[in-house]
Amino acid sequence: MEMTRRDVMAAGAGALLIAGLPVRVSAATEDAIAAFTGGAEIGSGDISLTAPEIAENGNTVPIEVSSDTAASILVLATGNPTPGVAQFNFGPGAASRAASTRIRLAGTQDVVAIAKLEDGSFVQASSTVKVTIGGCGG
């Protein structure tokens, strides 16, 4: 009985690993990505995107991107009518390859950051930002 309880707890903890949410991509987003990458394959790696899980105000959502080796980072709001948000370019002498800004989101959607690294390869990170009409907490 006691072991059963332990097992239940262990199972609960183990099951916490949740698969990453799929990126929903509109045609306009696909076009913007293709224009940036020239159709090259996009992997994962040296790119980080920090965004709130739930926006406090969809009209001004703080986000931050960073990468040690990026030459350029493209930020897209995939669910906005116009997905393009910003493209940050970093010269070889850039002391810090990070940028933060605030973006407007039309609704719950994935924000995507794609970095073109110095070696010419592309990596991406994405984050779902929920825009909610508000509720009632405990």
Partner: protein, 568 residues
């Protein structure tokens, strides 16, 4: 060589096997009719550090009744995991006998019958006795308040939280974090916090304009206790401006900010912390997820979702302690910290049985002083509950208190449909009891309690229900806000908790006609606790009081079968 993780698991197993958590013996105690203060407080002092945790008091200074939920659904990876276990399953999981004091304290079955036998729970003068007893064992025990303290009663509302500040100061906490406190408005919160004789912590409390840490709320504080250097990191409720009216505290921003939590843990470790404690108002599932992502937290003292767990939950090398709500429980956690790390723990969730634990006379005096100016108003009897009618709130979908509030909204505000927020605070009233004005305020009091009346299309009503359902049933805990489903009156629906947002709610029905809700048709909706600025209407407590006062005979509600739940 035995690892730290083995040590922790051994502690957990020992607690389970030998009743170290203090719950194993209760059934027997009840059989012997020997529920005594000494037994409740019995604890074999362990290690070199003691933590005392109380959270989500919601301004309940006096003993109350509080029925735990019968429905608490977990989704995704948390399906069937504590705290999403209720009733007989909960008792089986923790080896609790039916009808025992722990069954009464922790589960909802036979609530009315057990309430007669075991009486009220909580009362901060009883809590003071428990804290004093722990301090007698371990004079330098840390007392940590998880927040939701300065909200939830008639006196708290009328004193803008001052009653709670005065009583808590008498208990001498060492640190606190926050949620509903901010609904007092940022000017009032700032005013109180500037005068607090203890630390007001929140690593995720930010200045909204500059997105920088707010100066008034430091991320952590160091304590030297039992020769151990302890860092307590605060984590306020992440979704305050979303779940509560952000316009009341526009200068502040929150969020989970687990990257910064990791930075803070790394920083305090670098500064020599041997024990890292997170005083959290995240809610239990968010804390579990955070414990798996942020490395180096020894103990999370978890608040917000009002769960009371007789044993900590272990996530990797972090133990998570959940201490209930409304002053009903205090957790004591003794820790053995050696060679700069936590090597083991002993834990007890202490239920505050008000008739068993002697009140601390000094604190009783402080409490009575806060209440004296309002004594007549508080005590006025507005109605009664029928002999078979318990009023309670907790549960994912509906509680009888909210059924009554929705009835009041529909009849007093002449609406088709009523909406009542799915908050988790608010004590219960057993059958055959008086309902006083204080009781009504205990389940309605807030700084934005206007009972609005508005028109909504069927389509918009569906959007509202879907939005709230996703706050509760999104499979990723980081997208959950805590709280329960919005309560509805005059409306039936079916919910499949396993579906994504937009597809969970179907078969919406207007109960008074039995017709399906028409997406394009407009309905009269009454509700309260809108987060929107400029909401107008009479205070909800006046609406409920008027409705109860008009009833002929005691309150007796029809069973609520209007929500069909699928996928639980």
């Amino acid at each position: 060589m035995i690892s730290r993780r083995d040590f922790l698991q051994t502690s957990m197993a020992a607690a389970a096997l030998y009743g170290g958590s203090g719950f194993g013996n209760w059934g027997r105690l009840a059989a012997q009719q020997a529920l005594t203060q000494d037994k409740l407080l019995e604890f074999d002092t362990f290690g070199n550090v003691s933590l005392v945790h109380i959270t989500d008091i919601h301004a309940q200074l006096k003993p109350i009744y509080f029925r735990e939920p019968s429905v608490n659904i977990g989704v995704g990876g948390n399906k069937g995991a504590v705290p999403h276990v209720t009733g007989a399953d909960f008792r089986k999981l923790y080896g609790i006998d039916d009808g025992s004091p722990s069954a009464y304290a922790l589960t909802s079955d036979d609530f009315n019958a057990l309430a007669k036998g075991y009486g009220r729970v909580g009362g901060l003068d009883r809590v003071a006795t428990v804290i004093n007893s722990i301090r007698a064992d371990r004079p330098d025990a840390l007392l940590l308040d998880g927040g939701d303290t300065w909200h939830g009663s008639y006196t708290c509302h009328h004193t803008q939280g001052q009653d709670m500040v005065n009583v808590m100061n008498a208990l001498k906490p060492d640190a606190m974090t926050f949620h509903w406190e901010f609904t007092l408005g940022s000017d009032r919160v700032n005013e109180i916090v500037e005068g607090l004789p203890f630390a007001a912590l929140g690593q995720n409390i930010f200045d909204a304009e500059w997105d920088e840490p707010a100066e008034l709320f430091p991320p952590y504080k160091f304590f030297e206790r039992g020769g151990v250097k302890i860092a307590v990191i605060g984590q306020a409720f992440p979704y305050m401006p979303i779940a509560n009216p952000g316009w009341m505290f526009p200068e502040y921003s929150f969020g989970i900010r687990d990257e910064r939590m990791q930075e803070m843990v790394d920083q305090v470790r670098a500064e020599g912390a041997e024990l890292v404690v997170c005083l959290s108002h995240n809610g239990f599932d968010v804390d579990k997820q955070m414990a798996g992502k942020v490395k180096g937290i020894d103990v999370i003292l978890s608040g917000h979702t009002h769960d009371a767990l007789p044993e900590p939950v272990l996530v990797e090398e972090t133990i998570i302690v959940a201490s209930g709500s409304n002053g009903k429980f205090v957790s004591r956690v003794d820790l053995d910290v050696r060679d700069g790390r936590m090597m083991g723990f002993r834990h007890k969730l202490i239920p505050i049985f008000s008739d068993v634990i002697t009140p601390d006379a000094e604190v009783t005096k402080v409490i009575d002083a806060q209440r004296a100016p309002y004594a007549d108003k508080l005590a006025e009897v507005i109605g009664q509950t029928a002999d078979d009618q318990v009023l309670y709130r907790r549960g994912n979908f509906n509680g009888t208190w909210d059924d009554l509030i929705c009835d009041a909204l529909i009849s007093e505000r002449e609406a088709d449909i009523a909406l009542s927020p799915g908050v988790r605070w608010g004590p219960s009233i057993p059958a055959g009891h008086d309902i006083t004005r204080e009781d009504i305020w205990n389940v309605t009091s807030m700084s934005y309690g206007e009972a609005y009346r508005t028109e909504m299309t069927g389509e918009f009503l569906h959007v509202v229900l879907e939005d709230v359902a996703d706050n509760l049933f999104n499979p990723d805990p980081y997208y959950q806000q805590g709280g329960d489903m919005v309560r509805v009156g005059g409306l039936g629906y079916r919910i499949d908790v396993t579906k994504p947002q937009g597809e969970r709610i179907t078969e919406m029905t207007l109960l008074k006609t039995g017709e399906a809700i028409d997406a394009s048709k407009t309905y009269q909706i009454a509700g309260w606790a809108s987060v929107n600025e400029g909401t107008e209407g009479p205070p909800i407590w006046d609406v409920v009081e008027a409705h109860i006062a008009k009833q002929e005979g005691p309150i007796s509600l029809d069973p609520n079968n209007s929500v069909t739940v699928v996928g639980a």
